[in-house]
Symmetry: C2
């Protein structure tokens, strides 16, 4: 609701006051801030001193109104429930805020209004209110309505997660296939010949890619590979954790028991731990090797500690911000995706087969 009364001015030092204190005009202060090279060094010093002394910062609203630059990037938070938060909300967001800050931008969080879960309307609102210079989208699907809509609006954007061939290629992503291929090679190097994969929510492109990467590399190396895992559950696989465990247990009881399992997430790896133990086997050297994905803090609390794939969150965030600002500045929108490498963090859970 719009408040009626006039708002009290906080300390609110204005450019005028700085100018007076430095004995120059408003515009000289503005120049000192926005084009320092145009101001004589000694004047610049004087102005900067006054700025520091008064603790002056330009009013961002006034600046935005005049210049058109909002110095703010919008992050469309994935639609999900606080009780089952998106893994990206932790970790990636920190990296994004840091990367944006380093580029002089702030990050504005937004989501579709609670209940009405229409991301398109949320984008429309934010853009129409001219609150951001660009948009960061995450958990992007191959044909994503958010991508299509942002492109239609003509607002600069970049996505964490690749888009299909028909969509604009303004994405940054990790190499999900490559990451799982590295996992497979790691396991193969340890001597494992029969390996299993545990996935979930495989309608999500990144989960499908991990599975595909696993199977492709296993085939290439001539390993015996089998993949299990249900579709349909949420991205963190809340639904049928129990049945997933059952699938792994069945494999472990089968004739050609895998000696190693790669999982599509750290939580799924935990399911593998449970299945392995339930079958009276052990995880790690001398037992069943297990790997996860995401390198969450969970990995370090498991025994043995979980080998996992670490995402280059800082590099992803920096690349997203960079591409976004290229578009904002009107430089040629590269129009190409960027795939960044992951890092395999080897811990006790992956060792030689027993």
């Amino acid at each position: 609701m719009p408040e009626g009364p006039h708002r009290p001015r906080r300390g609110a030092t204005t450019i005028e006051e700085v100018a007076r204190a430095a004995g120059v005009s408003r515009q000289t202060v503005s120049n000192a801030l926005n084009a320092p090279r145009r101001v004589r060094p000694e004047t610049l010093d004087r102005v900067n001193a006054a700025i520091r002394e008064l603790g002056y910062q330009p009013d961002q609203s006034a600046r935005s109104l005049r210049s058109g630059a909002r110095r703010t990037l919008g992050y469309l938070a994935p639609v999900d429930d606080p009780l089952d938060p998106n893994p990206l909300m932790a970790g990636f967001l920190e990296a994004l805020v840091d990367a944006a800050g380093a580029a002089g931008q702030r990050v504005l969080l937004f989501r579709p209004g609670q209940g009405a879960a229409d991301p398109v309307a949320a984008i429309d609102e934010l853009v129409a209110a001219r609150q951001v210079d660009g948009l960061v989208l995450a958990d992007v699907l191959h044909e994503d309505v958010r991508i299509a809509h942002a492109a239609r609006l003509g607002v600069p954007f970049a996505s964490f997660g690749r888009t299909g061939p028909g969509e604009p290629q303004r994405w940054v992503d990790i190499g999900n296939e490559a990451a799982m291929a590295e996992v497979v090679r790691h396991l193969a190097a340890l001597g494992h010949r029969r390996i299993g994969y545990l996935g979930a929510a495989e309608e999500l492109p990144w989960m499908a890619a991990r599975r595909a990467g696993f199977l492709a590399e296993a085939r290439r190396l001539g390993l015996s590979a089998v993949a299990v895992g249900a579709s349909g559950a949420g991205s963190s696989g809340t639904a049928a954790a129990g049945s997933v465990v059952a699938s792994v247990r069945a494999l472990l009881r089968g004739p050609d028991r895998p000696t190693a399992f790669a999982a599509g997430s750290d939580l799924l790896a935990l399911d593998v731990y449970e299945a392995v133990r339930a079958e009276g086997l052990v995880v790690g050297p001398g037992g069943v090797a297990v790997t996860g994905f995401h390198d969450t803090p969970l990995c370090r609390h498991l025994h043995p500690a979980l080998t996992s794939v670490r995402l280059p969150l800082r590099a992803i965030a920096t690349a997203l911000v960079g591409r976004l600002l290229d578009q904002v500045r009107g430089e040629t929108a590269a129009g190409e995706g960027l795939e960044l490498p992951t890092e395999l963090v080897v811990r006790g859970s992956s060792g030689r087969p027993g």
Copy 2:
């Protein structure tokens, strides 16, 4: 006419265009938006139709400049590493954005610049640039430099986490003691008489409170209680997970073996699982009961599923936003803290003693 500014104007429907389309003046449109009661109904309809048709939204920068209201709340993200993200970043942030949105506010994320980890400077910048109407602080310590500084600046703020008696009491918090007391009563009701507590990073007030709440209720009920857990580690206890497990194992081997363990976080509960199993015991009914704290998705992936304390994230966020906006509107800053109850989610990990 002035030349087009540096920046290309996006669709940018202005109030002027709406006024022309509706056949009224700018101010009538403004009134229709900000004080609809002052506009004749039939005129209002016409204006609203034009607004809808043109997809008009007021330019937030212009509006802010004029009115002083930023319609934005700043969230000072806890200082930590993306690789070891703060648990609040997931879950709480979703709830906060929703609550803010319901009150017509957006959420601006900010952190101290990477490297320079001074939250005070970050607050100064944001406030000086007049980018927000108020601040949300989290993971607040009893004597917190952020609280003191925000109070000194006179900027409206509210904190998730209570402040000490010398500080302004503009906090919302969960009842950490009460939550652990409920856990203790739950375990006692199941028949447990010897119970253990596993904590970590107990220099953090909320962790200390959980421990204290545990011990107090155990004493009140005449139970035999013992607490273990190191200080000094990060909030997620990355440091010495191994030694924590060792402490629990030692207790399990001791003469008066606890039949139940409450942990200060879900990850610590996982450590208890490991310790229990390492001692050849089982978790859950017939074995050692275990409870966690936070109700993260991890709980549902453990076997047996972990009993845990769920935080009322939506209520917390709503209360924080409400108190913040009270201050923004200049209404009497309540000056009192608000403690919200948690919810014990009972699952398979807590059962009758073996």
